[in-house]
Symmetry: C2
Subunit: 217 residues, 2 copies
DNA sequence: TCTAAAAAGGGTGATTTTCCCCTGACAAAC
DNA sequence: GTTTGTCAGGGGAAAATCACCCTTTTTAGA
């Protein structure tokens, strides 16, 4: 879907300065032009519905309020699977990368990418339909490798609920009250998580929860 | 120090994409032009020493590896107090803002600032020598207000050392070993921090440490 | 140099966390 | 119809955490 001989790009990022600056940068690439940008997923879908022309590429920030990158990506996959989405993020947290790619992102760019590399990534993305940097490939392969031997840690709803409460200054007894369970049951959850997550103290619970986005400081 | 009738700007940011994009944006402002950009404080000083022309404005990112915004700012204040430095950051963490301003930054911009506002900020910065957004003013005033009644929480080096270790799965006894102190002394640190930080459990220590950047997950 | 405060360490006891082993209810699977 | 698995709960004990009150040594300021 080329218009004026150049690919159309939409930017989704809540950092207006970055979004605007990025738009200017993209517009310096002769094969690309920016259609518009949105502050979050919600705004993106409003724009997509309003405009006739669908973008060829969406540059999607992950950390946004309102409707974050993961949710947005999942919706995009459902409604517009033909759009090539490149995730844009500050951090290279493995779980985040995996989540984005599993949700249908066709690439994952760190914001400290070199502008030249960025242009290459964009070009490759529209031509081949995807772009994976060596670093991301390594990360993903590493994760798959580990997933093979350690059968993936999936937490149940009640465990997650407990995990979040463990990140507060409540005692387990208080947590038990909050969850309408006996302290002994809570003790069971604690022990289960200690085993599942290979940790051995409440501090471990807190660190795991924060690292895996179950709890925000 | 105007050259070609326009103010010179230097960008310091480890996110190359952002830096490049920002440079392009600034270059669209007719009263400004970018001299160069640096990936961190170290690189900035190398450039400053190499080049004859000093910039009028430095846009300084805070979160950088090698030499971060705070350290860079302190050096800049010593060596080139005449340069107007605007801190650029993702987050509006009060303690960070305070630290930057105390180190001599003449303004503090959040990266989600609107590009138009950004241009205004830049213009005001070179004309008046500083730029404080309403939000930053409020934050700073709020902090001063609190500083009046609660005499500011400054942690000593040894307390910080302990705090970081408390963010691991070590027991206090092990921490004592690491710090070559008796468990009883460690217990003293624990108690002091509990009071200083208004917390009541080790979880509180971990949360405080992470929130105030003493510990990275 | 004197003094006062900060740092290091001690004792004791209550509370919480951590560990291990065990019971019953219930639901899906075989 | 039994097995298997998950969820809830219990007993008991060791270890760690937390709280309060105390002494000695070191350090820094007047």
């Amino acid at each position: 879907m080329i218009k004026d001989n150049s690919y159309s790009v939409v930017i989704v990022d809540d950092h207006l300065l970055f979004a605007q600056a990025l738009e200017n940068l993209v517009n310096t690439f002769k094969d690309f032009h920016v259609l518009y940008h949105a502050k979050n997923g919600k705004e993106l879908f409003e724009q997509l519905n309003k405009n006739d022309q669908l973008p060829d590429v969406v540059l999607l920030d992950i950390n946004m309020p309102i409707m974050n990158g993961i949710e947005t990506m999942q919706e995009l996959s459902k409604n517009h699977p033909e759009i090539v989405v490149l995730a844009l993020s500050m951090d290279d947290e493995e779980s985040t990368i995996i989540k984005m790619l599993r949700s249908g992102a066709k690439g994952y760019l760190l914001k400290d990418i070199h502008p030249t590399t960025f242009k290459d990534a964009l070009t490759e993305a529209v031509q081949k339909g995807f772009y994976y940097s060596d670093q991301i490939t390594t990360t993903v392969l590493g994760s798959l490798h580990r997933a093979n031997k350690t059968p993936e840690v999936t937490l149940k709803d009640r465990e997650i609920e407990f995990l979040k409460l463990a990140c507060t200054e409540k005692t387990y007894k208080e947590i038990a009250g909050d969850m309408f369970l006996s302290p002994k049951t809570i003790d069971g959850y604690r022990e289960t998580l200690f085993e599942k997550l290979h940790i051995k103290s409440r501090v471990g619970l807190v660190l795991y929860a924060i690292k895996h986005n179950y709890f925000k400081v």
